[in-house]
Amino acid sequence: MIDRREATKVVVELAGDNPIVGSIGNPNTDLGAFDRPRNYYVSAMGMASSVGLGVAIARPNQRVIVLDGDGAIFMNLSSLATEGTVGVRNLVHVIWDNSRLEITGGQPTPTARGADLAGIAKASGFANAVTVETLEDFRAAFARAMSGSDLWAIVARINPGNARREADLRLGFVQMRDRFVASFG
């Protein structure tokens, strides 16, 4: 099993100047520890994949990274089929999967009962969809995804538990929007 904070650090290390779009909840809390102007912290559950797709359409020369959760993507599962078939190739969709809705009390998500997110992504049109269970395997898959030129879904099996909230970002939503837009010059 993978520590989400450590894997988030790997994402930011390997992201270069590519945009990162995080899901509300633990993905954003861990991403906030590695804040940068080209991070966008999505504030509606399930919407990170769709926001990432919009950025990918607008910025075809960037590889857009989505940091999602298993509960969040099940809330917007149709977005996987949109990403997989709309003709965009510059998306790397990472799903942190601990089979739980962590923030609301650890209730099980469908992956706790056999649903296979990488299989769903593959069947939704993703050229590459893998499940990884160690940090080393995550780093290798993410590095391949970032150097590639096609759609990737990486389902990272992570430990249960809420993220450590070290310090609030104190970043307003409009400020976050504007610095992201401005980062493209």
Partner: protein, 187 residues
């Protein structure tokens, strides 16, 4: 298996009525380069006009809530877009509008074809169609209803301009008086 390659389906730009041409032209004149839609029979011809235009990218999503996210992402990437949906689809957007688009002040026109009013035959369209203005009011999203062809260009351009300057979504509701009553079997 035959694959449908056109996002506008069986509709053609050549056969589009004037309101559909004026709608897309007015959005384009307002700097909109993306139409994000869940296809709808009323909007079929307008989608065909958009798809035929080399300056517009037509993106069909599977659920209207996705369109809110995609439009916010487009704006983050520096592009303007508009949502084109039918009235029942507005119901699928509500939390994403409130928790994402409004909180981050993301501007985009929401063009809604109203069902459930003039000549409606489908009982399933009544309630959500009538609730559209109230839903937008509850979210404090301004909206304008267009019933006549001569109003399409000035109202769409005016609403879009306000939306992008105020940095907030705006509703543009198209009455069946403009788009034509639905005939049973047309969706």
């Amino acid at each position: 298996m035959a694959l449908v390659s056109s996002a506008a389906g069986r509709y053609s730009a050549d056969a589009a009525p004037p309101w559909a041409r004026d709608l897309i032209a007015a959005l384009k004149a307002s700097g909109v380069t993306n139409i994000v839609t869940v296809p709808d029979s009323v909007f079929g011809p307008a989608l065909a006009v958009a798809e035929a235009d080399p300056d517009i990218r037509l993106t069909a999503v599977n659920r209207e809530e996705e369109a809110v996210g995609v439009l916010c992402g487009l704006y983050l990437g520096g592009q303007r877009g508009a949502m084109v949906i039918q009235s029942s689809g507005l119901g699928n957007t509500l939390n994403a509008l409130g928790s994402l688009a409004l909180v981050g002040r993301f501007p985009f026109p929401i063009v809604v074809a109203l069902r459930g009013e003039l000549g409606e035959w489908n009982p399933a369209q009544f309630s959500m169609g009538r609730a559209v203005p109230g839903c937008l009011d509850a979210l404090r999203i301004r909206h304008h209803t267009i019933s006549h062809l001569e109003d399409v260009t000035p109202v769409v351009q005016g609403a879009a301009t306000t939306c992008f300057h105020m940095e907030e979504p705006i509703g543009i509701l198209l009455s069946a008086q403009l788009t034509g009553s639905r005939v049973r079997g047309e969706g």
